[in-house]
């Protein structure tokens, strides 16, 4: 804990001639009468990327984003400004802009700095430094070779490796003074296979909050790229999917995107406070089958969606969203928790210092049930088995959501049959989980590839679930 704060102070404050006193002065100038809270969010983010195409690593890049976001909150009102320059005059200007939400002037009271305990879910070192440039190039080349060796029909391989090191410091008028140092890495493969004039692609990836060496220990790069090859070849054989409502069995892991879209967004505190979510005012109601329990857990070690603290400096936690089919709780940031008279849940997140925080998910997943996955497949006479997904989207007000299957099969007579082409599946968030009839005992979290968009802001997230049978989703095929 002390180490993260010291590192952040050195990088973000001292190098800019600032200290606890001067940022206290800025916060104090923000705390005019009527302002409930004021906050400074300092960030220094460094990222690198290496990509291979046509058998060679010909693109590499490095980026820096550094700045400070200044926020004043009064009741439901928020004033916000940011600066790419971390210097006192820019901070004071941004502060003046942010506190314009209230008209009065004069200095207000600050709470004494409160240095909280902190988790230690991931290493603090910059992942970019964990491997030399020649090794990164060699890694990507070896994956290209593995893909081409896997099958002669592979015609194009694109592999990329990226790493980010994010240092953030949050100082708020309520006494919050805390920091976090966040690594995030990602390895991605896209493969195109061609056979008899037909072409298809396959995509796979893995990542998390660790360095490149840990990434390679957890995910064999050869297996990762071979998985992309497998998808591409499978899709070459796929037949058109059917159209209409049918029984759908969802595979374990990344298909948890369904939970993220169908219920996760609808349980974010901002929508629920404003009453614009299909789940508003429904705490205590049955929204899922009795076998269904869903949590949002930001405290899992080194997962892509995990955080030691959220972007408001609040500790992350494991929040139960649905317990045995009953709606239990919402995900909150400080603003919405205060306005709803609830406790913050460590879900206040933002894309960067140039964006406002709001309630966002971390790692959202369903706990395992009692059923063997094979038994679930055997229970279906005719339907679809969606083993893996692309992305999804939801309209939180109507509750209608969609996600795209990228690996799917017909189920015929309790057996997995022909692969079908990628399709969208649509459903209704508030009732889809009531249609869950069987939950598997094979809970799996995704491989660390998820990015969630909300109001134009992107943040890394995780999802997971066991195999699950849904009695009635609309499958958007053409056959």
């Amino acid at each position: 804990m002390a180490k993260a704060l010291d590192l952040a102070k050195e990088n973000l404050l001292e190098s800019s001639g600032l200290d606890e006193n001067s940022i206290g002065g800025v916060l104090s100038s923000l705390m005019v009468p009527g302002v409930d809270d004021a906050e400074l969010y300092f960030q220094h983010s460094r990222s690198e990327s290496w990509s291979l195409e046509d058998g060679i690593v010909k693109e590499a890049g490095f980026g820096v984003a550094r700045g400070v976001g200044v926020r004043a909150v009064a009741g439901e009102k928020t004033g916000f400004a940011y600066s790419d320059e971390i210097v006192l005059p820019a901070l004071m200007d941004a502060g003046a802009a942010a506190r314009a939400i209230v008209q009065s002037g004069g200095d207000g009271q600050l709470q004494a700095w409160r240095k909280s305990g902190r988790r230690d879910l991931y290493p603090e070192d910059n992942p970019a430094a964990s491997m030399g440039a020649p090794e990164k190039v060699a890694l990507l080349r070896s994956m290209d070779e593995a893909a081409r060796r896997a099958d002669a029909r592979v015609k194009q391989v694109m592999v990329s490796l990226s790493g980010t090191h994010d240092i953030v410091l949050v100082a708020a008028a309520d006494g919050t003074l805390t920091a976090d140092v966040r690594p995030l890495v990602r390895l991605n493969a896209i493969v195109v296979a061609e056979d008899g004039g037909l072409k298809e692609r396959g995509v796979s990836g893995a990542g998390g909050r660790f360095d490149y060496n840990t990434l390679l220990e957890r995910h064999d790069p050869r297996e990762l790229v071979e998985e992309a090859v497998r998808y591409a070849l499978l899709n070459l054989e796929a037949v058109p999917a059917p159209a209409g409502e049918m029984v759908v069995v969802l595979g374990p892991g990344w298909p948890g995107v369904l939970l993220h879209e169908a219920i996760g967004h609808g349980l974010e505190g901002d929508f629920c406070r404003k009453g614009t979510s299909a789940f508003s005012n429904r705490i205590g109601e049955r929204v899922a089958a009795a076998e269904v329990t869903v949590v949002d857990d930001g405290t899992l070690p080194d997962r892509r969606g995990s955080l030691n603290m959220d972007d408001e400096g609040m500790p992350t936690q494991c929040t139960t969203l649905i317990e045995n089919g009953v709606l239990k709780g919402y995900m909150q940031d400080k603003l919405n928790a205060r306005l709803m008279g609830a406790a913050p849940t460590g879900n206040g997140r933002r894309q960067s210092y140039a964006h406002l925080p709001m309630p966002r998910m971390t790692n959202t997943y369903m706990l395992p049930g009692r059923h063997d996955p094979d038994e679930i497949i055997r229970s279906v006479d005719r339907g679809i088995y969606a083993a893996n997904f692309g992305g999804g989207q939801v309209d939180i007000t109507s509750g209608k959501f969609v996600f795209s299957a990228c690996e799917a099969y017909r189920i015929e007579g309790g057996k997995i049959a022909a692969p079908v082409k990628g399709v969208s599946l649509v459903g209704n968030g508030p009732d889809v989980l009531t249609r869950v009839s069987l939950v598997g005992n094979d809970l799996k979290l995704d491989d660390g590839i998820g990015t969630c968009g909300k109001n134009g802001q992107m943040v890394p997230v995780g999802v997971g679930q066991p195999t699950m049978r849904v009695d009635g989703l609309t499958v958007g095929g053409t056959a």
């Binding site: 010909k58 928020t78 940011y82 140039a354 969208s424």
Partner: protein, 447 residues
């Protein structure tokens, strides 16, 4: 605080001097060539929700992106930190990374002959003399107008925003130039409700000139009308039916077309429109022209991200693909010439062969109107298309009832070849300007 008080001339001078400084530093480190772009933007937005100010956000961005070339090796860096020492560090980092990558035969700046000869003044910079108090007033008026409808039970708010942005670019061919542009918007998102549930929809107006914006009251009223008409939406039975896409959705189909004929998809051979130059992609009546130099145009720009002068040209003529969409690098990969499209298409206009939305609904007789598409069910390699949708069922040439929780599916290649009508209800807010689009048949999945 007004965007007109932002000293754009001074910002431009600073940005161009940063361009020169970065190019000098790259040369000092023995880069054979380099290019750099510097961006600045300044503005604010005010959001009013349920009659009260919800957020006031100030925008003040700066960044630069540098690419250095050592022979056929290249590397790129970007940063928001413009302190002199940091900039020098970034140039050094770029030069170091370039030494680690492989040679790419096609890497390099654009051909010097393609550089914009002069930076055309397209009259894109028209600041709005609006302060925050006035923005709050307009946003309030907008939301009030939406909430006046009795069915509107809740609101996500109305926003008024104004931004002034500067784009500067220079490269070691000796080119250096910059231009600035404004962008003003009014938007509103509201929730309609009845015993069956809630529906959310909205509307926005966007322009470089504030007098050309729809009035706040018009934006609010249209947002309300769009949310209210969705109430009582139902699921329909699966069927094959004609589908009419409203302009905002039609342009997402043309966006698939643009990426399918763009450089990266072509040289990677990851497009369902591979080798279609000179071939028929759309019906014979369909023409598409890019018009990047329209004065005051929302997506107009005097030069592209390579410094290449943009020019008006046909992309589709009589249904035949007349030009790919290329930047300098992809053109070199394909043995073709750049089309000035580094950064995408700018004001790509689809010519109409029909009247407006109502005429097309009448012509369709019965079928589906799509007003919203969600999801990521588009395969760029095969053109297979399957998206979640909401809209209206049409009977006897008129909207009968709203529908939701359905999908529309087909293959983009077949969909493009079969387009029956493009309406004259052209939406000029996006980089692709088109009206409603009528397709004779798609698969609709529902109950």
């Amino acid at each position: 605080m007004k965007t007109q008080d932002f000293d754009i001339a001074a910002a431009r001078e600073q940005a161009l001097s940063l361009v020169a400084q970065v190019l000098d530093e790259a040369a000092r480190r023995n880069a054979d060539a380099a290019e750099v772009s510097v961006g600045r933007s300044y503005g604010f937005s005010a959001t009013v929700r349920m009659g009260e100010v919800e957020t006031l956000e100030h925008e003040n961005d700066q960044d630069f992106v540098l690419t250095v070339y050592f022979g056929k090796r290249k590397a790129s860096v970007s940063s928001s930190d413009l302190r002199a020492a940091s900039v020098a560090d970034m140039v050094a980092a770029a030069c170091a990374i370039a030494g680690e990558v492989s040679e790419d035969e096609c890497a390099g700046l654009c051909d010097p002959d393609d550089l914009a000869a002069a930076v055309a003044d397209l009259d894109l910079d028209r600041p709005w003399s609006l302060d925050i108090a006035a923005a709050v007033e307009l946003a309030t008026e907008c939301e009030d107008s939406a909430r006046a409808a009795p069915e509107i039970v809740n609101s996500e708010g109305a926003s008024v925003n104004t931004v002034r942005a500067l784009h500067c670019y220079g490269n070691s061919h000796g080119f250096s130039g910059g231009w600035s542009g404004t962008r003003h918007g009014i938007s509103c998102l509201v929730v309609a409700g009845d015993d069956n549930g809630m529906q959310r929809d909205g509307w926005y107006s966007l322009n470089r000139y504030s007098p050309r914006l729809e009035t706040p009251a018009q934006v609010g009223a249209r947002a309300a009308e769009r949310a209210v008409r969705r109430l009582g939406a139902r699921k329909i039975a699966s069927c094959k039916a004609p589908v009419l896409f409203v302009p905002e959705m039609a342009r997402t189909l043309f966006a698939c077309f643009v990426s399918a004929v763009s450089g990266p998809a072509l040289y990677r051979k990851t497009t369902f429109l591979q080798d279609t130059l000179g071939k028929r992609v759309f019906p014979e009546w369909l023409c598409m022209d890019e018009e990047p130099l329209i004065p005051g145009g929302l997506h107009s720009a005097p030069f592209d991200l390579d410094g290449v002068g943009t020019r008006a040209h046909a992309v589709v003529r009589d249904g035949v693909l007349d030009s790919y969409v290329l930047d300098s690098y992809s053109a070199r990969r394909l043995g073709l010439h750049t089309t000035g499209n580094a950064g995408g298409v700018r004001n790509l206009a689809v010519r109409s062969n029909a009247g407006g939305f109502d005429d097309l609904v009448a012509e369709m007789g019965s079928g589906l109107v799509v007003t919203e598409l969600i999801g990521s069910g588009i395969n760029p390699v095969t053109g297979d298309y399957s998206q979640g949708a909401a809209g209206f069922w049409v009977e006897n040439g008129a909207l009968a009832y709203p529908v939701e929780e359905i999908t529309v599916a087909g293959n983009l290649k077949d969909m493009f070849a079969s387009v029956a009508r493009a309406g004259d209800d052209v939406d000029e807010r996006a980089s692709i300007r088109c009206g409603s689009l009528l397709l004779p048949e798609m698969t609709v999945a529902g109950k």
